[in-house]
């Protein structure tokens, strides 16, 4: 596949932003585009193996009305963002890397993280692997 990769930098550990990111990753993967996901700060924290599917907060702009809309979508059967990401990996080339600085910040080992995370890398490796593809910060 000669397509440039889609590169998603996840910073936010909120469930709505993570859901939006998983949707973008799965869509790109379904189109056959390689996807690189780089986890920083609170997004990385959300990938802890012991609580990846526990409720995380929502982005501040959600407000009470937004929170209730998100809850209804979940009740209507929308799957968890971690499951969407898992399926994105099944159908294509999706590589998920933890930012090494954020690993230090949160005092994490890779064994603390969900198996969705393929490895740990620094920002130089991220940019080199990103090639000329878009970088999207969420």
């Amino acid at each position: 596949m000669s397509e440039e990769p889609v590169n998603l930098v996840l910073f936010s550990g909120t469930d709505d932003r993570l859901t939006a990111a998983a949707v973008l990753a799965a869509g790109a993967s379904a189109l056959g585009r390689p996807v690189h996901v780089f986890l920083q700060y609170w997004a990385l924290d959300a990938f802890r193996a012991d609580r990846i599917t526990s409720p995380h907060p929502l982005a501040p702009e959600a407000g009470a009305e937004g929170a209730s809309a998100v809850a209804s979508l979940r009740e209507a059967g929308q799957q968890h963002w971690s499951e969407t990401l898992r399926q994105a990996k099944e159908i294509g080339e999706v590589d998920v890397q933890a930012c090494s600085l954020s690993m230090d910040l949160l005092d994490l080992e890779q064994s603390d993280l969900d198996p969705l995370v393929d490895g740990v890398e620094g920002v130089a490796a991220f940019y080199v692997n990103a090639g000329n593809g878009q970088v999207i910060f969420i």
Partner: protein, 84 residues
């Protein structure tokens, strides 16, 4: 007078029911399912996601799997795709 047999339009299609699934799952399931078919085989997908018409057209264009036909009936879209 005998009529010529119809061209190969009666090939059995595999069916994928993606009704009720939210974006991007209809496309994700389609991408999964089409991999199980041989080249030239048909996949019929039912979907209700409002983005499906634009998404299936774009997915077909981008992946080279032909969108053979599409229709809508009572809010349910049907897409027939041929694996490239």
């Amino acid at each position: 007078m005998s009529l010529p047999a119809p061209a190969a339009t009666t090939v059995e299609a595999t069916r994928l029911d993606a009704r009720g699934l939210k974006c991007p799952m209809p496309i994700v399931r389609t991408a999964q399912q089409i991999k199980t078919l041989a080249s030239g085989e048909l996949l019929e997908v039912l979907a209700t996601d409002p983005g499906a018409v634009a998404d299936f057209a774009a997915w077909s264009r981008s992946t080279g799997n032909e969108l053979v036909r599409q229709s809508i009936d009572d809010g349910v879209y049907t897409f027939v795709l041929r694996r490239k």
